[in-house]
């Protein structure tokens, strides 16, 4: 009994520091953020104890702003648009690189460079390439006679959201490819052999074998992509700052603007909580799925 307790106690000593660290730096702020969103904290009473509870006032105020509705819509379009293309292109590349030629693994690894470049740099780079006059995108499209006039990638409100989506797709492709490659390599090969014997062509094998077998992996990739894209900040903040005229405002840039441009901390907290609630719901679905897969 004592021995068992002692060995358990040692286990806790190993585990606790990290758990405490995360509870202090993530768990506590998370709860504090909920408290903040029901108070009236701005720059004037940030450091004082004069904070009043105002109920749902912050949420009501935020919901009444036009930017809020726009930013929810933008976040959804941004996320769904990014994830769909990342997964489709990632899947095509994963299929290509799963053909076993010598340098396949090496090339696939090199592509990860786009993932590890700091988002700020990527955003700046795409901002440069999407410049309206001298940007390489417009230059090439004009040269190929695909467009007659330069596109205002980041300056026109109709296009800007898609421009930041394009940049984000580029960042996410290798990661999706990597996860899908792992999924593809774990599929049972004998099914393909017997399908070939039955005369199934490439397309039939894709529709009837690969996609159904890959479904669990695809679901995980889609969910993870959704979760990680939904909280986007850097790319949008650096490329457009949410403009022109709110056309690229997403929930995290809006929360940031309330808190650190207007110094209305409680309004920022309220927006951040909406973002958190949506993400939390999706994470719960994801965790349920994972549990089912592992049979815990």
């Amino acid at each position: 009994m004592w021995k068992e307790f002692r060995s358990q106690f040692k286990g806790y000593l190993f585990v606790l520091p990290a758990v405490l660290f995360m509870l202090l730096l993530i768990g506590y702020p998370l709860i504090y953020n909920i408290v903040l969103s029901f108070q009236n904290v701005d720059l004037s009473n940030l450091a004082t104890s004069d904070k009043q509870f105002v109920g749902f006032d912050n949420y009501k105020k935020v919901a009444g702003e036009e930017a809020f509705g726009i930013s929810i819509g933008n976040t959804l379009i941004y996320t769904v648009g990014s994830v769909i293309f990342q997964v489709i292109i990632g899947f095509c590349l994963a299929s290509f690189f799963s053909m076993k030629f010598k340098i396949a693994g090496f090339l696939r690894g090199i592509m990860m460079i786009s993932w590890l470049i700091p988002m700020t740099v990527t955003a700046l780079l795409f901002k440069f390439m999407m410049g309206s006059g001298e940007g390489i995108f417009n230059q090439m499209l004009l040269h190929a006679h695909l467009i007659d006039e330069p596109i205002g990638w980041l300056s026109s409100p109709e296009v800007a959201l898609w421009s930041v989506i394009i940049a984000n797709i580029w960042v996410g492709i290798p990661f999706n490819m990597l996860l899908l490659s792992t999924g593809l390599s774990s599929l049972p090969q004998d099914v393909y052999e017997s399908a070939s014997l039955d005369g199934a062509n490439w397309w039939q094998r894709l529709i009837h074998i690969t996609l159904p077998l890959l479904k669990p992996v695809l679901m995980v990739v889609l969910m993870l992509g959704f979760i990680y894209t939904f909280k986007v900040f850097d790319i949008v903040y650096v490329m457009t700052g949410g403009g022109p005229i709110n056309s690229t405002e997403v929930l995290s840039t809006l929360a940031f603007r309330y808190s650190f441009s207007d110094f209305e901390f409680s309004l920022g907290a309220a927006v951040a909580n909406v973002l958190f609630l949506i993400l939390f719901a999706i994470s719960l679905v994801y965790l349920r799925m994972m549990k089912k897969d592992e049979g815990i």
Binding site: Y12, P29, N33, M112, P118, T120, M129, L178, K231, F256
Partner: protein, 272 residues
């Protein structure tokens, strides 16, 4: 596979990768161009004359301090992550303690949280503790990105190490801690390095924590410096791209030298 098919696939593969990484090429090549060449139509895909003026400009403009700050912040964050995550992952893998699954859940969920949600509260807390405008604030905040990732990745790894190793060590009179430090840790070193590298990347790429917690530009990392330089250099894109190239260099060097381990680690760390 026939030799010819191998060649064809390799060439197609190289073309795909070259197209995909074109933006990176464009960034580096622009840094070497003169201001007038950048705005030329049609654009040149290779600089007429490699000039180093842009690099000289950003170095004189004080990129060194930003670089140093990035190294300090990312380096310290990595150390914090490893000190916390390695023992924790080991404990979660080896000991029969209550609440393992809920602790795993804590790490899994925190990995999915947006920085925006903890940003304002952390700002208030750091403000009250007097930690704003110090290295400590961004170090602590960015370490929270690496800890859950590393715990999840390393736990899987530790579970794969046979228990007999520690049992043998304990017969030789080794305590639990010594067995961990002297027997298990050396075996785990490659995985620990992967976690370290990835935590370093996370911290190196941070913008939001640094610009929020530090108003003092003397403490800003490269990412914040770049953001600032957009205003300062305006349309001097060659200077901006030189700035960007210098900021990317360390992560690319680390990545290339650890490539194989990193790619494997990334897969198992993110699906788990």
């Amino acid at each position: 596979m026939s030799k010819r098919k191998n060649w064809t696939l390799s060439i197609v593969g190289i073309v795909i990768v070259a197209l995909f990484l074109f933006p990176v090429y464009w960034m580096i090549i622009t840094a070497f161009k003169t201001q007038s060449e950048i705005f030329r139509t049609p654009p040149t895909f290779f600089p007429e004359k490699f000039q180093l003026d842009s690099f000289a400009t950003v170095i004189e403009g004080g990129i060194g301090q930003y670089f140093l700050n990035s190294v300090i912040i990312a380096g310290c964050a990595t150390i914090v992550v490893l000190l916390l995550a390695v023992p924790s992952a080991y404990g979660l893998a080896r000991f029969k303690i209550k609440g393992v699954s809920s602790m795993m859940l804590v790490f899994l969920v925190t990995q999915m949280l947006p920085a925006t949600v903890v940003l304002t509260p952390l700002f208030v807390v750091f403000n009250n503790l007097g930690l704003l405008n110090t290295y400590i604030a961004p170090v602590l905040a960015t370490a929270t990105l690496g800890v859950p990732f590393s715990v999840l990745l390393l736990r899987t790894f530790f579970m794969g190490i046979p228990k007999e190793l520690e049992e043998a060590a304990s017969i030789d009179g080794c305590g639990r801690l010594r067995a961990f430090l002297q027997v298990i840790l050396p075996i785990a070193l490659p995985s620990v390095m992967v976690c370290g590298a990835i935590s370093f990347f996370f911290a190196w790429g941070d913008l939001i924590f640094s610009i929020t917690f530090n108003r003092d530009q003397g403490l800003w990392p490269l990412t914040a410096g770049i953001f600032n330089a957009i205003g300062r250099y305006g349309i001097e894109w060659n200077n901006l791209m030189a700035f960007a190239t210098i900021s990317v260099l360390p992560v690319i060097i680390i990545f290339v030298s650890l490539q194989k381990h990193l790619v494997e680690g990334l897969v198992s760390g993110s699906v788990k």
